[in-house]
Symmetry: C2
Subunit: 234 residues, 2 copies
């Protein structure tokens, strides 16, 4: 049953905090209590160390997942073994759902980007429930629609924007758009951000240093923006 390269700990009982994250997740957030309860009962919580693979390309698709803590990276492999990131999911986000109504095998790898806990739902149960309870179907459609837009954003970003522009866009997504200066903390390693943006870590680093000229200061994972408007023009 355990998959991937590292050790996996199965946790029998969800703790309160995890329960909260799950109920606030994109799967549950607009679901009625009774349906949520039924779905919740079928959840299994597992914990994973950094680098662990939750599933691989070609594995039979048995579950969909919700991240409870940490970040999960989805990526595809080329014949030569190079990796391309196609998604990065944090607490409250769902992954692995795209396969639900199409293929019977995963078409990507899922890896813990750090120590993670995830909730796992049997794909057949969810599918069955979605067929009976419109609100479950609605929630899944919401999730898929969001993911679809994200993926298309990625395509457009890759094709239209240079490295500094992609980074500027990422930063802007994390700035309140009413004020001039802002700051935030990247919630994961910079190398993950690089992958998410389709860049080599070196390119991300260089992009950050170019953005210094536009009033962006970086120390560790902390990003300081002095002039949000200037960033928009990059």
């Amino acid at each position: 049953m355990p998959r991937g390269s590292g050790v996996m700990t199965k946790i029998l009982k969800m703790n309160l905090r995890e329960r909260e994250v799950l109920l606030a997740s994109t799967l549950f957030d607009s679901m009625s209590a009774p349906v949520a309860k039924r779905l919740m009962e079928s959840a299994t919580v597992t914990s994973h160390e950094s680098k662990d693979l939750l599933f691989r390309e070609g594995d039979p698709a048995e579950s969909i997942y919700c991240v409870l803590s940490g970040y999960i990276r989805l990526f595809r492999l080329s014949k030569e073994g190079r990796e391309a990131d196609i998604g990065l999911f944090g607490p409250g986000e769902i992954f692995g759902e795209c396969v639900m109504f199409v293929a019977s095998n995963y078409m990507m790898n899922a890896q813990a980007a750090e120590t993670c806990t995830v909730a796992r739902f049997d794909i057949n149960k969810v599918r069955e429930l979605a067929g009976k309870e419109p609100e479950v179907a609605l929630a899944l459609m919401n999730i898929m629609a969001r993911h679809l837009m994200q993926a298309r954003d990625n395509v457009a970003n890759d094709r239209l924007h240079t490295a500094p522009q992609r980074v500027a866009n990422y930063i802007l997504e994390h700035c309140p758009d009413n004020q001039l200066s802002a700051s935030f903390r990247i919630p994961f390693q910079k190398s993950l951000l690089a992958g998410k943006l389709g860049l080599a870590p070196e390119a991300l680093s260089r992009a950050f240093s170019m953005l210094k000229n536009c009033g962006v200061s970086v120390r560790g994972r902390i990003i300081q923006i002095n002039d949000v408007e200037a960033l928009r023009k990059v």
Copy 2:
């Protein structure tokens, strides 16, 4: 009501051929007759000339569409006016659905790549129906899941493969994988194929000429493959 730059002809009655395409589309193909009938009744058929825009980024999202004939190109614009293709849809395919459960405005432009006819469904009607009829929700989930995989394929392809590899992959998708040689016809302009693959037309052209060395001959829109296996190794 008519959108876009060119003339739009509203067709009052669907003809038989169009009806067939629609019933075989990814929206209707696994739908029961009564539900299909209800949905069908709300369809409006329109015809568009090449280059016409069906909707633009920022337009209020009022409809989802099914292509009946021709090809529709979805693209995003950069600030500088450059275009990035994020989808190309032919007869029987649905587009514009991603916005249904998320945003209230389209996030991309839809353009007729040639003379086209499309069926249009009111988004609120479809949403309502999806909430009541699980089979409609199911169909939409199928469509979105498929589109999500396509979009992620695009991301991975862009990030992992060179121009000749992307072209080789495209060709292989159109070859029966049991026989050694094959041939097919690209169903649209090469410049559209280039856009779909995230390439400039010149790059597509160069990729084709590189593939000549692997037994691929191109005359007009006809592609001849002598050695399918050799292509897989590119």
